[in-house]
C-alpha cells in the first residue's frame, strides 16, 4: 500500500479555509488525513518544512497542440511541462487539427491524456464546427464524451446571432462557454497594444476597446440567455469594469487572467521580441494594474496560463508574421508570486486562484486538501531562486519572454492521484 506523509509544511487549502502548519497523509490516491501531527510509521516521509503544501494547480486555458501540431507540443510533453509547473489538471483548447468539434477527437485527446500525460487532461470542445463561427457543435455528445467546456478561443465568434444561439444551447450541456473576447474588426492588423509604446515603436496597435466591446456584447447575451459565460485572459480595465457590473446584476460570468497580463506591460514589446507577442496583447500599466486589483478582489476568478507553444522557426520572423502566444506552465507559479511579494495577495488567496477557483469553474474535482479528496497536491518553495532555460524545460517549444531570467519560487514536488509525478530533484517521473 502506497502511503506518503508530507510533514511539516505550511498547508494552504482554500477549500477548507486553512492556512497553517500541518501534515498531509496520502493513501490510495486520496488524501487520508490532514492534521497538526500525523503518525504514520510505514509511510514514505517527505519533509516539507519551509515549504507550502497546496492542492495541485488547475489550468483552465492551454494549448496542447495534439492532434495535428505535434512539432509544437503534444499531450505527453505538455502534460510533463504542466506537472513541472505544479499543474495537476489542464484544460486544452479545441484549435487542433482536426479541430476538437467531434466526439472522436475528444475521445482521442482523453485517451492520449490517460496514457501519455502525468497531468489530468480536460478537453474543451469547439463551440462551432471547424471554429468557423457558423454552426454549433453537438454539445450533448461532446459533453458525454468528456468535454468540460466549449470555446472557439482565438477564432472569436463575430456573428452575434450565432453567439446568442451557442450560449442559449449551452444550457442544455450545462458547461461554460469560454470566449476570447476581441472584436476582430477593431483589432484590425494590430499586433501590440495601441498606445504610447505602439506609437513609439511603430508596430500596428490593437486597441484595448477591442476587448471591452466584445466583453460587453457577450455579457449582454449571457444575461439574456442565462448561460455560463467564462471570459478568457482578461487584459483591460474596461473589460474588468464590465464584468464587475454584470456580476453585480447576477449574470453568470466567470473570468480568468494570465500570469503575463498580471506582470508584464506593453513596454516588454519595445525590443520587438516575438516571444512578447500574445493575443490579447500585453497592455498598458494602468490595464495591468486593473487586472491585478480585479484578481485580488475576485472579479477575475482564476489564473490561467494560456500556454501556447510555437516552434522557434515560427517565432523567429518579423513581428507581424509571428503567431501570438507564449509557453507558461513552468514559469507560472514564480511569475504570479509577484502578487504575494508585493503584498497584494495572501498565499492562500493565490492558491485559491490557481487551483480551487479554476476547478470550480470547470465543475471538476480538485482544488481541495479535504480528507477523501483526490490527492492532487503540490509542494512549493516560495523562496527558491532559479534561472529559467526553456531548452531545459519539458515543453517542446521555447517561446517564453522569461527565457534566461532569474525567477523566485519553485515547484518542489507534484502528486497526481497520490502518485509523485514530478520532483525538482528527479524531474518528471511518470509516464
Amino acid at each position: 500500500m502506497n502511503r506518503i506523509l508530507l510533514r511539516g509544511g505550511r498547508l494552504l487549502d482554500p477549500a477548507g479555509e486553512r492556512d497553517g502548519p500541518g501534515d498531509v497523509l496520502i493513501e490510495n490516491g486520496r488524501i487520508a488525513a490532514v492534521d497538526a501531527d500525523i503518525r504514520a510509521d510505514d509511510a514514505e516521509v517527505i519533509d516539507a518544512a519551509g515549504r507550502w503544501v497546496a492542492p495541485g494547480f488547475v489550468d483552465l486555458h492551454t494549448h496542447l497542440r495534439e492532434p495535428g501540431h505535434e512539432y509544437k507540443e503534444d499531450i505527453a510533453s505538455g502534460g510533463r511541462a504542466a506537472v513541472a509547473g505544479g499543474f495537476t489538471a489542464v484544460a486544452c483548447m479545441a484549435n487542433t487539427n482536426p479541430v476538437n468539434d467531434d466526439p472522436s477527437v475528444t475521445d482521442y485527446i482523453l485517451d492520449r491524456g490517460h496514457q501519455d500525460s502525468p497531468a489530468r487532461v480536460y478537453p474543451i470542445a469547439a463551440a462551432t464546427r471547424g471554429l468557423r463561427g457558423e454552426i454549433m457543435t453537438e454539445m450533448d455528445a461532446l459533453v458525454r464524451a468528456g468535454a468540460v467546456a466549449f470555446s472557439d478561443d482565438g477564432a472569436t465568434i463575430m456573428d452575434s446571432g450565432v453567439m446568442r444561439r451557442v450560449l442559449e444551447y449551452s444550457r442544455l450541456a450545462g458547461v461554460p462557454i469560454v470566449v476570447h473576447a476581441e472584436d476582430r474588426t477593431l483589432v484590425g492588423n494590430g499586433v501590440v497594444n495601441e498606445g504610447a509604446v505602439s506609437t513609439r515603436i511603430g508596430l500596428p496597435g490593437n486597441p484595448a476597446i477591442a476587448e471591452a466591446v466584445m466583453v460587453a456584447r457577450d455579457l449582454m447575451l449571457a444575461e439574456l440567455t442565462g448561460a455560463h459565460l467564462h471570459v478568457a485572459h482578461v487584459s483591460t480595465a474596461g473589460a474588468v469594469d464590465l464584468i464587475r457590473a454584470a456580476r453585480g446584476r447576477g449574470v453568470h460570468v466567470t473570468a480568468e487572467v494570465t500570469p503575463h497580463h498580471l506582470v508584464l506591460t506593453d513596454e516588454a514589446t519595445a525590443g520587438y521580441d516575438t516571444n512578447t507577442k500574445v493575443a490579447p496583447p500585453l497592455r498598458s500599466l494602468a490595464d495591468r494594474n486593473a487586472c491585478r486589483a480585479a484578481l485580488c478582489e475576485g472579479t477575475l476568478d482564476a489564473i490561467a496560463t494560456d500556454h501556447a507553444p510555437h516552434a522557434e522557426h515560427e517565432k523567429d520572423v518579423e513581428f507581424t508574421a509571428a503567431p501570438p502566444g507564449l509557453i507558461g506552465f513552468e514559469t507560472a507559479f514564480a511569475v504570479v508570486l509577484d502578487l504575494v511579494r508585493s503584498g497584494e495577495l495572501e498565499p492562500l488567496e493565490l492558491v485559491r486562484r490557481l487551483s480551487t477557483e479554476p476547478a470550480r469553474i470547470l465543475g471538476q474535482l480538485g482544488g481541495s486538501l479535504a480528507v477523501d479528496a483526490p490527492a492532487d497536491v503540490v509542494v512549493l518553495d516560495p523562496a527558491a531562486e532559479w534561472t529559467y532555460d526553456p531548452a531545459k524545460g519539458y515543453s517542446k517549444s521555447r517561446n517564453s519572454p522569461w527565457s534566461g531570467k532569474t525567477l523566485t519560487g519553485r515547484v518542489i514536488a507534484t502528486f497526481v492521484a497520490g502518485r509523485l509525478v514530478y520532483s525538482e530533484e528527479r524531474g518528471v517521473l511518470f509516464p
Binding site: T199, G202, L203, Y272, V317, F319, T320, A321
Partner: protein, 313 residues
C-alpha cells in the same frame, strides 16, 4: 557617441546628430568635385538589403557608397518570409557569412533591422522599417533645415499628414525634439495616433492652427491606394483639408520652408507649383541625402573600431 548601428534617431543624442551633420557637410563638398569620388571605403563591401521596393533611398545609398569607393551590392529578396520559406534572419545570416562591411536594411515591418543587427557582425543601417523609423531621412531633413535656417534650436516644425503610418514622421519627431525645436503634427484624427503627444509633440486637427508661426512645414506622402476610403473619405476631401498650396502656406511664417520626403503626390498633399519652387527645399533634401548617407557610412564602416562585431580588413 554614435553606436555600432544606426537603427533609429531615438537611440542618438544631440552630440551624435551634430557630429553626423558636420561630417555630412564635408561630404557635400565631394559631390561638387569634377571627380566625385574619394578612396575612403575602398575595398569595403556595402550591401543594400531592401525587402521593400524603394528606388530613391536605395539609389541614394548606392551613390553614397560609390562616392566613397565602396563596392555596393543591391539585394532585394522577397519581402515576406512566409512566402519564400526563408526567414529574414536566414537571409541576413547568409549575407553575414559573405563578410560585408555594412548592411543597409529596409523592411515593411517595424523592428526587422534591429532583429537583423542582433545577429550580424557588420553594422546595420536602418533605411526604413514599417511605421517605426527612417533615421537617414530625418538626418538629411535636419541638415536641410540647418542650411536654410542656420539653426534648429527654437524653430517651430509642423509635420502634416499620415503620422500613424509614417516612419519619416517618427524619426523627425525624435530628431527635431532632440535638437531643440518645437514639433506639431496635424492630420485627420484617423491618421494621428491617440498617444502621439506622449512623444512630446502637440497634435492638431486643423491645418491653419498647426501652421501658425511654423518655420518648417513638412508634408508627408499619402498612400492613396491603401488609405482612401478607410482613413479618410476621399482624395478630394483630404486635399481640401490637409493639402498644402500657396494660399494655405500663408498660415505659416512668411519665411517658412516646405519639405517632403518624396515622392510627392502632386495636387494631393502638395500643389504642383509648391513641389517645384521655393520655398520648397525638396531637391535640397535629395542632394543632402547622398552626402548624409556618405557621412553615416563613413562613421559606421569607415574607421577601424575595436569590437567583436567588426569585420577585419
Amino acid at each position: 557617441m554614435i553606436g555600432r548601428d544606426l537603427l533609429g534617431i531615438e537611440d542618438l543624442d544631440r552630440g551624435d546628430i551634430e557630429r553626423i551633420l558636420e561630417t555630412a557637410e564635408h561630404m557635400l563638398e565631394v559631390g561638387r568635385r569634377e571627380v566625385k569620388k574619394v578612396p575612403t571605403l575602398r575595398g569595403r563591401t556595402i550591401v543594400n538589403l531592401f525587402f521593400e521596393p524603394s528606388t530613391r533611398t536605395s539609389t541614394s545609398f548606392e551613390i553614397a557608397g560609390k562616392r566613397l569607393s565602396a563596392d555596393v551590392v543591391n539585394f532585394s529578396p522577397a519581402s515576406s518570409s512566409i512566402s519564400k520559406h526563408e526567414s529574414i534572419l536566414d537571409t541576413a545570416r547568409t549575407l553575414d557569412a559573405m563578410d560585408p562591411d555594412a548592411v543597409i536594411v529596409r523592411h515593411g515591418v517595424a523592428g526587422v533591422p534591429k532583429r537583423i543587427a542582433d545577429r550580424l557582425k557588420a553594422p546595420v543601417i536602418n533605411a526604413g522599417d514599417g511605421a517605426h523609423e527612417h533615421p537617414t531621412q530625418a538626418l538629411l531633413d535636419l541638415m536641410t533645415v540647418m542650411q536654410a535656417k542656420g539653426r534648429i534650436d527654437g524653430l517651430s516644425v509642423a509635420i502634416v499628414g499620415d503620422v500613424v503610418h509614417s516612419r519619416v514622421a517618427r524619426s523627425n519627431i525624435f530628431g527635431f525634439l532632440k535638437m531643440g525645436a518645437e514639433v506639431r503634427v496635424a492630420g485627420p484624427p484617423t491618421m494621428i495616433p491617440a498617444a502621439v503627444e506622449t512623444l512630446g509633440v502637440k497634435a492638431y486637427t486643423s491645418l491653419s492652427e498647426a501652421l501658425a508661426g511654423a518655420d518648417v512645414v513638412m508634408m508627408l506622402r499619402i498612400q492613396l491606394e491603401r488609405l482612401a476610403g478607410s482613413l479618410f473619405p476621399s482624395v478630394r476631401e483630404y486635399t481640401a483639408t490637409f493639402g498644402l498650396d500657396r494660399e494655405k502656406l500663408r498660415y505659416a511664417r512668411e519665411d517658412a520652408i516646405v519639405m517632403h520626403p518624396g515622392p510627392v503626390n502632386r495636387g494631393v498633399e502638395l500643389s504642383h507649383d509648391l513641389a517645384d519652387e521655393r520655398p520648397s527645399v525638396i531637391l535640397d533634401q535629395v542632394r543632402n541625402g547622398v552626402a548624409l548617407r556618405m557621412a553615416v557610412l563613413y562613421l559606421l564602416a569607415g574607421q577601424p573600431l575595436a569590437g567583436e562585431r567588426r569585420g577585419s580588413w
